[in-house]
């Protein structure tokens, strides 16, 4: 496979991996340049680090030079020149210690610079993901967003600490070894290079082969993990249908597939790895043969020839690790490119500069000719125009896919309309400062997501300054005291990851309390009580009734009891508002609402 096809595959992978939006077009060099610009820490003190790297690398040629000096000058006569050898050895030993010191300093500087840069990059990317609109960070993309700030950055980190160092040191090693060799004998230097030159062409080929094998390993590992997870996540279904044997067979196939891919990769690495060893031996033999001939002509001294044998080992070690370094480098650049891709994708719903701050107090909303469509999709809202006066409680109803939730997302500015505008107290939402917007309009989403903390901390998300007393009061006013008392540790109860220690209904209660504590002027409820049992829902509805009094409130409802309680009902169908008015009025007119209501009552009434 050529580099071009591989690059294309990478591009295609990027294509269905949305975190890397527009990431793939950048070449490796551009990626590095752009990345360095975004992380100035990488460059801080780089000059000094490079000088230290050169010094550290010089340490590697001490042995060949010492050997050459000892043979050519110390052992020239009949008896060894011991004082000379002693002086040479002591000098060299001092040099070794100094270069080791340089190596230490270089390492520490390199680690400090790269890790600082990467921590900043990580945080920047994390923040940027939160700045992206819900369109870009929808649930399918979330996993890959996480990889952008974790695995991808880790990959760069690993490379910088190991591979990057190898590139610097190995490159320096090759250069310095070549220089010393050329000083000793240009003929032998040419011979050594002639032996190693084929490797320069071979190694990148090997690397591509190895990379392909590892891609296969990654894919098979994914299959294996998926198969294994079925035996855990699907444990109940597997038992209910007695399909243990079938599942076991599927797992075995996946486990075996991964093992085979791993073994194949290992074989490729194992077979290609010792090639450099063989090439080195050919170079050694060649140096002995040609060196002796040159020696007979007096073109080279014995010490220099022997030093060559040592210099060749200096040559192999960077080449031996070259395939791995190239692999890591490629992965790191790919990772970097993906991280930069996230930073490049524009925050399409941005906090306006010099935005308007809305004064507190009852809020009015108006949609003027609002249309919306998801990128590349058909329109989901058409020309929606509606006014919601302050202090009105509105219920939004309609079948799944009628545009209710889109309406809610536009009203909270999770997305911006494609056409028309959304006005709050007469101001276009796009001109309202985020901090002001989030303070005045609060939405309770259907999925009451909780963070892995205590109940109290989760409720406090609504308003960071709230005291424990205020939180208690909020729960009391919502009529949730009984529920709170039933919890093992009251407000200190840990809710578990994603709030999973609580039931779906309980999570919704917490989300409601959170919104209530935030004390907004407009409260938007997106099927916020869909998972609680009817009795609790009725209790909550009553509490919400109290809460929303005097505020503007919009409820997306699938239980029409909510609609009955509202001042006004807005009925959506196929992305349009088809009916509007109080429940009592609409229910008697033939139309969408009457139909919805009929099917609702038949499902709930005895």
């Amino acid at each position: 496979m050529t580099a071009v096809t591989q690059e294309r595959e990478a591009v295609e992978r990027e294509g269905d991996e949305p975190g890397g939006i527009r990431a793939a077009e950048r070449s490796a060099l551009e990626t590095i340049r752009h990345g360095m610009r975004l992380s100035p820490e990488f460059r801080r003190g780089l000059g000094g680090t490079m000088v230290l790297a050169v010094l550290a690398t010089l340490g590697k040629v001490i042995v060949p030079i010492a050997v050459q000096q000892v043979i050519d000058r110390g052992l020239r006569g009949d008896a060894p020149d011991v004082p000379f050898i002693r002086n040479a050895v002591v000098l060299c030993a001092i040099a070794v210690v100094l270069t080791a010191l340089a190596g230490y300093l270089m390492n520490v500087r390199l680690y400090r610079a790269t890790e600082s840069g990467l921590a900043t990059l990580r945080t920047k990317a994390f923040r940027h993901v939160h700045d992206l609109s819900v369109l870009t960070q929808n649930s399918e993309r979330r996993g890959s967003m996480v990889s952008r700030v974790t695995g991808d950055v880790d990959q760069i980190s690993t490379f910088m600490q190991w591979g990057g160092l190898m590139v610097v040191v190995a490159g320096g090693q090759l250069v310095i070894a070549t220089v010393v060799m050329a000083v000793y004998s240009w003929q032998l230097t040419l011979l050594v290079w002639a032996c190693f030159l084929p490797l320069v062409f071979l190694l990148p080929r090997f690397q591509r082969l190895v990379a392909r094998r590892y891609t296969a390993v990654r894919e098979r590992t994914g299959d294996m993990l998926a198969a294994v997870s079925e035996s855990v996540v699907g444990s109940a279904v597997i038992r209910a249908y007695g399909s243990e044997d079938r599942t076991a067979a599927r797992i075995d196939a996946a486990v075996n597939g991964q093992r085979e891919a791993q073994t194949r990769a290992q074989k490729t690495v194992g077979l290609t790895f010792p090639i450099t060893e063989l090439v080195a031996s050919i170079a050694l033999a060649g140096v002995v043969l040609l060196g002796v001939r040159l020696g007979l002509d007096g073109a080279i001294s014995a010490g220099r020839l022997v030093a060559f044998l040592f210099l060749i080992t200096l040559f192999i070690s960077p080449l031996q690790t070259a395939t791995e370094v190239l692999n890591e480098a490629q992965n790191a650049i790919a990772g970097w490119r993906r991280v930069l891709g996230v930073l490049d994708s524009p925050a399409d719903v941005a906090d306006p500069e010099n935005g308007v701050t809305l004064p507190r107090g009852p809020i009015s909303v108006s949609f003027e000719g609002v249309g919306f469509s998801y990128p590349g999709g058909a329109p989901v809202l058409h020309d929606v125009t509606v006014d919601i006066p302050p202090r009105t409680r509105v219920a939004v109803v309609g079948e799944t896919g009628s545009g209710k939730t889109t309406f809610a997302k536009l009203l909270t500015r999770l997305m911006d309309p494609v056409s028309g505008q959304v006005l709050v107290d007469g101001a276009d939402l796009r001109d309202v400062r985020f901090s002001s917007l989030r303070e005045r309009i609060v939405m309770v989403p259907q999925d009451g997501f909780l963070f892995d903390a205590t109940l109290e901390e989760n409720i406090r998300f609504g308003r960071s300054s709230a005291t424990t007393e205020e939180i208690r009061l909020a729960l009391t006013e919502l009529g949730l005291t009984d529920w709170l008392e039933g919890l093992p540790a009251g407000l200190d109860t840990p809710v578990g990851q994603r709030g999973e220690s609580l039931s779906a209904g309980e999570r919704q209660l917490v989300a409601l309390a959170r919104a209530y504590l935030a004390d907004p002027d407009l409260l938007l409820l997106d099927e916020a009580t869909s998972a609680v049992d009817p009795a609790t829902e009725v209790r909550l509805a009553r509490a919400l009734d109290g809460i929303t009094r005097g505020r503007t409130a919009v409820s997306i409802a699938h239980r029409l009891s909510t609609a009955e309680a509202a001042d006004e009902v807005i009925v959506f169908e196929h992305g349009r508002i088809v009916q509007r008015g109080p429940h009592a009025e609409l229910v008697d007119q033939p139309g969408v609402y009457a139909d919805l209501y009929a099917s609702w009552t038949s499902a709930t009434r005895s």
């Binding site: 993990l225 007695g242 040592f310």
Partner: protein, 601 residues
């Protein structure tokens, strides 16, 4: 007492390695032989160079003559030794890989077999994430020392050979070697000991950073709607900074020891040159031998680190192995009897005195008893947390009661032979689960069921429409856990999976919660008409579902409060009435309030 702990870890680690050797003795032997070849040939290559120096290079320079034969011999020797060394490296690497991957696969198969064998109650006690990592990363970690192990054995062979070679060459020079190499080994040990806790910490912080990112992005909607982006960024930055510091701490240790480990052999070579020249002076050795020993030192410097790599992997290996072993040692299983459930037509259910608790101290169900006559449809109704789902799992024998018995056609489910319960009873769970398979595979689960029957089941589940619209129809792959379908669609496929079996007992645990009310209505109608051959137990909230049932079992706090028809219960059971009429009463109250307000106005 850290040193004591690590001795224990070391002993355990060696035990784990011992298990691997016992399981794969032939591969291990071959790997070690290859590595031994590599070790011997590494020493031999220095010997070849020494010989070339002594017999070809130096004579040529001192005496100005050489023979083509000696030259050719030297060259062949160098290349020949390298060839064998290369073979040793290939064998070592490939065989070590084969052994490591075989052991990993063996562990993974064994662990997942346990998952499939152990009762569901065991699964309930263990977090999903833990079980997943037992089968993936723990099985991987357990056998991680196998990769560098043959190399380490080869290095030992190499060191012994080298020691002998140096001793034979010159005993005085050997002293230098015996000082330097143990020093390298000790330095390595200190290095790994210092590094290992720091590396573990960095690894753990990486996981923590990832957790925060996962949680924060999953909760993006909450973060956005409550304007908590700054707070979240602060939280993430703190962890990212901790990780940075941990990585730098690792870097400092590496940065200190790596150059030292390189400098030490170099100093050794210098010492060899100094001592060697003294020996030359006294006539104890020849120049070629000096070169040979010096060269040997440069060759040994790197491989000797492999000893440290094995040691470095041991703690991780022991942890992984212990976790895997815990799963393999877990006892308890579903016991099966020999009875057959081969009755014809709808099943009869008898539940008597059933008590069950995930935690035996706090039972979820207490003394539950009721009977269902064949062909009847029963709704299980009760507030959240009443034990409805647990009851359905007992009926489908996913779990066994602590006390009491669940009988189908008079047979205690525990006496039924393997495969009998799942052959007669179909359970549709609240949490839908689809396999990463085709739609057909998800419905037939490998059984030979003709497509007409699959379509019929899909039709009954109101799923035929969207399945027919899929690009591959029944052959469409649904992705991991059915990710390509919506929640309601997944539920309908799961329903079809149960219906296609024409079970004698069909249990639905809130199985249509994600389905649109209109669609649900059609499904329920279909069930009523098609379920003539099934007894149906359905957990329900909605009136429409309850209306489908012949009778109702009302549960509260894990106990049956009442059983009878809907009308009977409405009349005599207060809790039931409160629950199912909540909406109506609310409406009535509101009407009353509204009329009050009108009066006031």
């Amino acid at each position: 007492m850290p040193s004591k702990v690590s001795t224990a870890v070391m002993r355990q680690g060696l035990k784990v390695i011992g298990v691997a050797i016992k399981t794969e003795p032939r591969v291990f032997t071959a790997a070690v032989l290859s590595s031994g070849l590599y070790g011997v040939m590494t020493v031999a290559s220095s010997w070849a160079l020494g010989r070339a120096t002594d017999q070809v290079v130096l004579p040529a320079f001192h005496e100005g003559r050489t023979s083509a034969g000696a030259l050719a011999t030297a060259a062949l020797l160098i290349v020949g030794v390298a060839l064998f060394k290369a073979l040793g490296i290939m064998g070592r690497r490939i065989l070590a890989g084969i052994m490591q991957y075989r052991m990993q696969a063996t562990s993974r198969r064994a662990v997942t077999r346990q998952y499939l064998r152990l009762p569901l109650a065991w699964h309930h006690r263990h977090p999903t994430g833990q079980l997943l990592s037992n089968a993936s990363s723990d099985a991987e970690a357990a056998w991680s020392p196998l990769a560098p192990l043959p190399m380490a054995v080869g290095v030992v062979v190499m060191l012994v050979t080298a020691a002998v070679a140096i001793l034979l060459t010159d005993p005085v020079l050997a002293i230098v070697g015996f000082l330097i190499f143990p020093a390298i080994a000790v330095l390595n040990l200190v290095y790994q000991r210092r590094l290992s806790p720091l590396a573990t910490r960095a690894q753990q912080l990486r996981a923590e950073v990832s957790e925060i990112a996962h949680e924060s992005f999953d909760g993006a909607l909450v973060v956005k709607t409550l304007g908590r982006e700054d707070a979240e960024t602060t939280r993430f930055r703190a962890k990212a900074d901790e990780l940075r510091d941990a990585n730098i701490a690792v870097g400092k240790v590496r940065g200190l020891f790596d150059p030292m480990l390189e400098a030490l052999p170099t100093l050794g070579v210098l010492a060899v040159l100094l001592v060697g020249s003294l020996r030359l002076e006294s006539g104890g050795m020849v120049a070629g031998e000096l070169i040979q020993v010096a060269y040997l030192f440069t060759l040994l410097a790197f491989p000797i680190r492999a000893l440290g790599w094995v040691l470095a992997e041991l703690p991780r290996s022991v942890v992984g192995w212990t976790r895997v072993q815990d799963v393999l040692d877990a006892t308890g299983s579903m016991e099966y009897g020999t009875a057959r459930l081969d009755g014809d037509g709808p099943a009869e259910i008898g539940v008597s005195g059933v008590t069950y608790g995930y935690d035996p101290q706090a039972p979820v169900l207490r003394e539950v008893g009721f009977d269902v006559a064949p062909g009847r449809t029963v709704a299980i109704v009760g507030p959240t947390g009443a034990g409805k789902s647990t009851l359905t799992q007992l009926l489908g024998r996913l779990i066994d009661p602590d006390r009491g018995a669940v009988r189908v056609d008079g047979t205690d489910l525990r006496d039924a032979a393997r495969g009998e319960v799942s052959g007669s009873v179909a359970l549709v769970l609240q949490q839908t689960f689809l396999f990463d398979d085709s739609v057909r595979g998800n419905i037939t689960l490998g059984r030979d069921i003709p497509d007409e029957r699959v379509w019929a089941a899909l039709r009954l589940a109101q799923a035929d429409g969207f399945i027919a619209a899929l690009p591959g129809g029944l052959d469409t792959h649904v992705g991991e856990r059915g990710a390509t379908l919506s929640g309601g669609q997944r539920q309908r496929v799961a329903l079809a999976r149960a219906l296609v079996r024409e079970p004698r007992l069909l249990i639905l645990d809130d199985a249509t919660s994600s389905v649109d009310p209109q669609v649900e209505k059609r499904i329920l109608h279909g069930l009523r008409e098609g379920s003539a051959r099934s007894t149906v137990v359905v957990v329900a909230y909605r009136m429409a579902t309850i209306a489908l049932a012949d009778e109702v079992v009302y549960l509260e706090h894990g106990a049956v409060v009442d059983q009878g028809t809907h009308e009977e219960l409405l009349g005599r059971c207060e809790g039931y009435r409160v629950l199912v009429t909540a909406y109506e009463r609310e409406e009535a109250e509101r009407a009353a309030i509204d009329s009050d307000e009108e009066v006031v106005a």
